[in-house]
Amino acid sequence: MIMPRGHQLLLPANPLFMFFSLVCALLLDMLQSMAWLGNAAWTPDWLALVLVFWAIHQPLKVGVGVAFVLGLITDVHQTSLLGQHALAYTVQGFLATMIHRRILWFDVPSQALQVLPVFMTAQVLELTVRVTAGGLFPGWSVFLAPVIQAILWPAISVVLLAPQRRAPDPDKNRPL
């Protein structure tokens, strides 16, 4: 198998953990909006972040279809236009699938720089759709959300890859 030099060989991803992380991201999004920051425009979309992460690392398991369904759920939760997030997530899933072969050859900070356009495209798309449909322009801080998501990329990479970084044969001296 061809892979970059000096990289650790990872364990297979657990589908249950992937599902769990997506649900957690959804919960975090809801918590953030319901209890904490209200409908501020600059808040990072955790679900989009985790979705793009898995679409890049596990493109055969998480892709455009999963993104569409999660988008619909987000739409209903946010009471936005039905299909708005579905479209944005679909596009993000597609773009992530497109770049997944290339992006993993870079180190993590460079990866963050490369996923920024993916998030930005989705945000611009959402903004265009809503302003066309008659919504109000929520201010320039909307463009902060993709940037925050890209900054969170290294952190999320550490957290979500942690289960795959465990030793393949744990023993008494190496329990994890």
Binding site: P59, L60, G71, F137, P168
Partner: protein
């Protein structure tokens, strides 16, 4: 197969499933169709019902920390603070007692005067108390979610108020929750009456994004001042008349414009209301109300040639 993972199944070389591009096109088309349907027709409501039932448990879990925090907050309020709030409540009660004793007399007087003038009796609207669950996360609109839905008999277009004034209107009813569009939403408009002058107008949500209302179509020389209180006028058949809506905070009169730009601040707590009342719309409370007849069936195309 993803780069650098130790997968135990061999990667599928030829059976990769539907291509990402096909899926993108398919799902984008579905999304666009859904959005169009949601904007123009009322046919996606069943889908929202089903999805909202699926989302509800997750939302319930996500709300727990907030609820716990509120309870903690209530539990740890100091004794001094509690005594103080009781004191203020007592003082308020006293000041209201003076007025409430007058109410009986005034009601009677009003009754007689109305009978004299043969005005239609002011109807009593029924109300239902509800609690605000959270503000909707959509930054493009101003909406709130209530903890009562179709199961409690909430209907669409019901006016919603808190103890200070009109908060908004129920625009969507789900099985367990309902959405209200706030008076500050861009797509919301409400007929109002200036209590000082008696002039009627229509207040719209501010389109600039600030949580304000704009009183449009008032002439530049109209008699309106900062501090005027606007109440519902009741001409719309939705809001009962005489409920406070907003206070004028800014009047801009420009020489080149026919209309003055008048900004008002909502009297109700549009940011941070917790307990609200859902009223029945006036029209359905009227004695002779009946639903509009269904629109006539369109003549099928190509039926007669």
């Amino acid at each position: 197969m993803p780069l650098g993972t130790l997968d135990r199944t061999p990667p599928p070389f030829f059976k990769q499933g539907t291509s990402a591009l096909t899926k993108l096109l398919l799902f984008s088309a579905i999304s666009l169709a859904l959005m169009y349907a949601d904007l123009r027709y009322n046919i996606v409501q069943p889908a929202r019902w089903v999805l909202s039932l699926i989302v509800y448990p997750v939302q319930w879990v996500a709300l727990r920390p907030q609820v716990l925090w509120d309870q903690m907050d209530d539990a740890f309020v100091g004794k001094q603070e509690a005594l103080q709030s009781a004191e203020t409540a007592r003082a308020q009660l006293l000041s209201q007692a003076v007025r409430s004793t007058q109410v009986e007399q005034l009601t009677l007087e009003n009754q007689h005067l109305r009978d004299l003038l043969q005005l239609r009796e002011r109807m009593n609207t029924t109300a239902m108390a509800a609690e605000v669950l959270y503000e909707a996360a959509d930054p493009f609109t101003r909406k709130m979610i209530l903890d009562k839905g179709a199961n409690s008999g909430i209907q669409t277009s019901s006016p919603v108020m808190d103890e200070r004034g009109i908060l908004g209107q129920v625009t969507r009813v789900h099985p367990l929750v309902s959405e209200i569009t706030l008076v500050t939403d861009r797509e919301h408009s409400i007929p109002v009456l200036n209590t000082r002058t008696g002039a009627r107008g229509v207040a719209f949500g501010e389109s600039g994004g600030a949580p304000l209302l704009e009183l449009r179509y008032m002439a530049t020389n109209a008699d309106i001042e900062v501090g005027d209180i606007l109440t519902t006028s009741g001409v719309d058949g939705v809001y009962p008349p005489g409920i406070p809506v907003a206070k004028v905070v800014k009047v801009e009169r420009q020489a080149d414009s026919v209309f003055a730009r008048i900004l008002c601040e909502s009297l109700a707590r549009v940011q941070g209301a917790r307990h609200v009342m859902v009223l029945t719309p006036v029209k359905t409370a009227l004695p002779g109300f009946q639903e509009l007849p269904p629109p006539p069936q369109p003549i099928p195309k190509g039926g007669r040639r």
